[in-house]
Structures are given as C-alpha cells and as structure tokens.
C-alpha cells in the first residue's frame, strides 16, 4: 500500500515538493484540515495531520466558498480546473457549481519590466523594433495573461496579450502533481480505473497547453473570422502573425463598450434587439453549423462597436463538436424544445447516455411533467436557462450521464440568453432559438451529400456485416455496446474526444474526476457524512488528502 505512494512521491521532482506543501497549506488555511480527523483510518494518518489539526476547526464561511478561495489562491491551473468544474452540474453539487461560476480571474498585474522582457525574448528583437509605443498600464490582467495597448511601427493601433512570467513552469509543476495523483488513484483505488484518471489528466494537460499557446489562439481567431465572413454584424480582431509567438499575441485594437453596459448602448442610439438577435444567431450558427464555438462566452468577452457590430474577444478556449454529435444534439434539443418526451428519451438511449439501472418510466414521466409545464407557458417568455437546468436536474436524478459537449453548448446558449435579457429585457430567446434549430435539424436530416459520405464509408464493411446479420443490425450493435456500458461509458466518451480535439470538453471531463473523487468527498465529509456510507469515490477523495498530507509530513521529517 505505501509502496504505491512511495513510488508516486518519488516520481515527483524534488522542486514540486514545495508546491505540494503549499497546496496542503492553502487547504489547511481555508479550514479543510478538520476533515482529516474524520477520514483517518489508521493511526499513521492521524499523525500526519496532527499539525494541520492545530488550526481552527470550524469556519463560519460555507464550504463551497472556501473551496472557491482555495482555487483562487492556488493559481492558474486550479482556476482553470474550477472553471471546468463549474460546467459539470451533473457531477458537482449545484451549490458548488454556483460558487465556482464566481471564480475571480482578475489578479494584480505583473510589472512592465516583465512584459518587455517576455516580448523581447519571444521576438528576439528589442521591443522598440516591433512597437512604436506600448502603454505601460495594462488594460486587463487575468490569471494567464495581461493585455496592453500599443502601436505598431507601421502605425496600426494594436493590443498585445502577454503571458504571465513563469506561467509555464508553474502550470507544468501543477500538472505533474495532478499526474502523480492520477497514478495514485489508479493504483490505490481500483474503483477509479474506469474513469481513467491518468488519461484524463493527460487530456487536461493538452487542453491547458493549447490555451497557453497564443499561436493557437491566433489560429482560432482566424478560423472564426473566416466562418463568419458573411456576417457583417460581427467583428473578430485580426491577429498579426508576424508579431505573434507562443507567449505574445498581437492583434488589431478594436473600440467598443461592454455588451452588458446597457446605458452606454442606449446612449449610442443602438438597436438593442438587433444586437441580441445577431448575438444569438452567431452563437447558434457557430455550434450547429460549424461545430466550432467560443467556449468561454463570458459577458466580459463581448463588446459592441459604435455601429452596433458585436465584437468577440478571447479565443483561448474553443469548443469543437464532431458532426455526428451535432446531429444527436440537434435532435435532442429539437425534441426538448418541441416538448416531445418520447423523442427525448430515444435520443438519450441512442447516444448511450442512459445507465442500465435507469427507470425509464420514471424518467419519462418526470420529463413529461417539465415539458408539459413549459409548453403551456407563453413560449416567448420561457427562461431557457432555467428550463435546461430543470431538464438537466431530471437527467441527473435518473443517472443519465450528460456529455461534456452538450453541457458546454447549453452553457453557451444560456450565457447569450443572459446577455440578451440584460440589455433587452423583452428578449424572447425561444422565438430566436426554436425556428433556427428546427431548420438546421430539417436540413441536416435531408442532406443527401452528408448521408452519402457516411454510406460510402461504411458500404464495404457494412456489407460484410450484412452477410451474417440479416436482421436489425443497429439494435444488435446497441445491445453490444450497452453490454459494456457501465465500464466504458466515460472512457468511450473520452476516446472520441481524443480523436476530435475538443479542448474544452476534455477539460470538462476532467472535472468529473476531481469533482467526484475530491470535492464531493470533501463536501460530504465536511457536512458530517460518514466515510462508511459513501461509495468508493469518496475513498478516492481520501487518497488525495492522504497523499498531500503524507508528502507534507515526509517533508517536515526531512526538514528536521
């Protein structure tokens, strides 16, 4: 038992130890030390946590809030982790989701001297040879980067997004620690193996690396610009590839006001309804036509130009969906939006999202009651976000696994809806969403090109199957797949993700791991639940605490 831990601890670099120790320290400072007392199954563990226990035992601050503070204090990797957890209401308690959506990503700026050094080391040139002028006071500072206004030598007004100094080293160390944790989970807690913690951490690593690569961000901006060439109502700043490196992104400077600044928009004499309609259309098109969407649709990333154009910023986190999933999602959403319960359930079955233990009749009747209630309401006035949340809650109650990309799509639409309501209170989101989605759905169903591609691809192997299976192949395949459902549900999802580079979806998947194994355990325990009554995943949470605590005690031992 301790062999596995030793191994993990040994695979950490010595310099990570300091970080592990500070993580433990942050946890303790926010009152999570008391948990240790209740979770220790052995005297050795109690010894490990003795030091932690000297801290104040209980805190008047709610546990969810303390967790958020822990995330904020632990920095970029964990802030991103928290943001990811916030997208997993099917795995994280709702109260924590709400709290995590308030994660502060505004941090004190770093000194201009660092800005200059980073620019010069990335460009291999003195800063003055690239920019005629750089504003020393940043426009904004977040966990990953800060943004400075500047002017190119050629006179164009630009902004420069510069990555925080030593960000990569810090993230790399955190990710190594997480990888160590994942290894520990797989070897110590067999229940976690179906979730493939190591693969998930690898995926999170990839997605975080993508987000910290501004060359990739510039490419996403370019792709998005091209997608919406035919939309005069949208502006995506042009990037300057010749002045863009991994840690420095130079882009066209755009003028605008925050989309949520209703007063300013009114003062500018703009048609608020038109802005909201365009915003919603763009959101839907990016998802359902292009399968490439802005996965961080924070109101802070939307601006409005003088002429009423929507300005979209921050392409660090993009979601991608493969065409097959678009079909499934469309069918699901059309079914939901038109109140067709049987179709909703069929969609969930087809997508293998319903566990074998699910009571289908109960699920149907719960869904029916929600859909019925909403279909009675005045369609225009339906609050889509609340509605989707209710549908989601039913799914969660009935153990329907919600795919990460569907949740992200839901979040995108809900954010746009929220923005819409804020600046144009009479906004009727369903009036905009329903006809659009239904039309796309019909067009895809009747798209001969698309179907023929699929048919052509499967003609050869499809016919081989046909020769010894002259009956309903689809049904058999579904059964076959469902035979292994319990074990492969999530890993299958992960595999398809790996093939289709859904950076953010992966990140959201990872949320599953930590949400379930770590924070779930912490919250349950903190609320006085006993270890014995909770399932194996809580023990995984224990491991994480043991893990930190043990390493910490080892270090203390070393120090003496």
């Amino acid at each position: 038992m301790s062999g596995a831990i030793d191994l993990v601890v040994m695979t950490w670099r010595l310099r990570d130890m300091g970080r592990v120790r500070s993580i433990a320290g942050v946890l303790a400072r926010h009152g999570f030390a008391d948990i240790a007392a209740r979770m220790g199954p052995g005297a050795w563990a109690r010894g490990v946590f003795r030091a932690l226990l000297r801290r104040p035992r209980s805190s008047p601050i709610p546990v969810e809030k303390r967790l958020r503070l822990v995330f904020e204090e632990l920095g970029p990797t964990f802030i991103k982790l928290g943001q990811m957890l916030a997208t997993r209401p099917d795995l994280v308690p709702m109260a924590l989701v709400d709290e995590l959506t308030h994660l502060q990503d505004r941090v004190p700026p770093f000194p201009f001297q660092d800005v200059k050094e980073i620019i010069e080391s990335e460009m291999g040139l003195p800063m003055a040879e690239v920019y005629a002028e750089v504003d020393e006071v940043p426009i904004a500072a977040a966990s990953i980067a800060q943004v400075h206004s500047a002017t190119l030598r050629t006179g164009e007004p630009v902004v420069i997004k510069v990555q925080r100094p030593r960000l990569n080293e810090q993230i790399t160390a955190d990710l190594r620690i997480l990888a160590g944790l994942a290894r520990l989970l797989e070897s110590r807690v067999p229940e976690t193996r179906p979730f493939r913690p190591r693969a998930i951490v690898e995926e999170f690593t990839k997605s975080l690396q993508r987000e910290t690569d501004f060359v990739a961000e510039a490419a996403s901006m370019g792709r998005y610009r091209k997608m919406f060439e035919d939309e005069p109502g949208l502006v995506v700043p042009r990037s300057y590839p010749e002045w863009t490196r991994r840690r420095v992104l130079t882009m066209e400077r755009v003028e605008g006001v925050k989309v949520t600044d209703r007063q300013a928009l009114v003062a500018m004499g703009l048609d608020l309804k038109a802005i909201v309609d365009v915003g919603m259309r763009l959101t839907l098109r990016s998802i359902f036509e292009f399968g490439f969407f802005h996965a961080d649709p924070h109101p802070g990333n939307f601006f409005v130009g003088k002429d009423g154009t929507i300005i979209l910023l921050d392409f660090g986190m993009m979601g991608t969906i493969e065409p097959r999933r678009v079909d499934e999602m469309l069918a699901f959403m059309v079914a939901v939006l038109t109140g067709d319960v049987d179709m909703v359930v069929d969609q969930l079955l087809d997508a293998d999202l319903i566990g074998d233990d699910t009571d289908l009749r109960g699920l149907r009747s719960d869904l029916r009651s929600i859909l019925f209630r909403y279909s009675d309401a005045d369609l225009g006035s339906v609050d889509v976000a609340a509605f989707l949340q209710e549908v989601m809650a039913v799914n969660i109650r009935h153990h329907v696994f919600l795919p990460a990309d569907l949740l992200l799509v839901g979040k995108s639409i809900a954010t746009m809806e929220g923005i819409g309501h804020q600046i144009y209170p009479e906004f009727k989101p369903l009036d905009a969403i329903r006809p659009y989605l239904t039309e796309v759905y019909v067009r895809r169903l009747l798209d001969a090109k698309r179907h023929s591609q699929v048919v052509a691809r499967s003609v050869m192997d499809g016919l081989t199957l046909l020769k010894d299976a002259p009956f309903d192949i689809r049904r058999v395949l579904r059964k076959l797949r469902r035979g292994e459902l319990t074990m492969t549900l999530r890993s299958a999802d992960l595999e398809s993700r790996q093939q289709h580079t859904a950076a953010v979806a992966n990140r959201a998947l990872l949320g599953g791991l930590f949400a379930t194994f770590f924070f779930g355990a912490v919250i349950l325990l903190d609320q006085g639940g006993t270890a014995r009554t909770v399932a194996g995943w809580v023990s995984a949470g224990f491991s994480w605490m043991f893990f930190l605590g043990l390493s910490w005690s080892l270090l203390r031992g070393d120090g003496r």
Binding site: T438, Y441, L445, K467
Partner: protein, 103 residues
C-alpha cells in the same frame, strides 16, 4: 478533394430516396410543425427540393458503380448474398419511381 464516383452514385440514390420518401414525412413531423411557421416550411421545402434534385442528376451516371460494388460484395457472401441482392433489388424497384417518371 474530388468526390469519388461511388459516392456520387450513392448520393444520387440517397437524394432520390430522400426526395420521394423522406422529405414530406420530415416536414410533416409534429416537432417540425411546432418549430417552424408554415411559410418557413414552404421556403425550406423548396430549397431542399432544389438541392436534392441537383444531387440526383449529378450522380445519375454513377449509379452503375454502386451496383458493381454491391455485386462484388454480395457475390462474396454466397447464397445469402444472392438472396439479399434480390431483396434489395425488389426493395429498390418498389421504392424508386424514377423509371415511371423518367420514362
């Protein structure tokens, strides 16, 4: 990327099936009726019809290639293959009105 002839043939066949057997059924679905206004349905019907007809015509000359592939694959399947093929053929003749229309 050029579209392979086999796929064009398939597209032509698929388009015809969609046009003759699926289009109206989809547009008549309750969820579609509830989601779209009658004018929108009409506009979409016309647009899709145009597309399907174009796909049908463009690939008509390549339908033979689909049959060849079928022959080869089903031939390899022995007696079962022969049976399936005759079923497919009967099914196709039943579904496709193109002879009557074209003739």
């Amino acid at each position: 990327m050029p579209v392979p002839p086999l796929q064009r043939g398939i597209e032509s066949i698929v388009a015809e099936l969609l046009r003759v057997h699926v289009l109206e059924a989809v547009l008549a679905r309750p969820e579609v009726r509830r989601g779209l206004s009658p004018e929108a349905v009409e506009r979409i019907r016309r647009d899709i019809l145009d597309r399907l007809k174009a796909s049908e015509e463009q690939g008509r000359d390549h339908r033979g290639e689909v049959e060849e592939v079928l022959d080869a694959a089903l031939g390899a399947a022995g007696p079962a293959g022969a049976m399936i093929k005759s079923l497919l053929k009967a099914g196709w003749d039943h579904l496709s009105p193109s002879d009557r229309e074209a003739g």
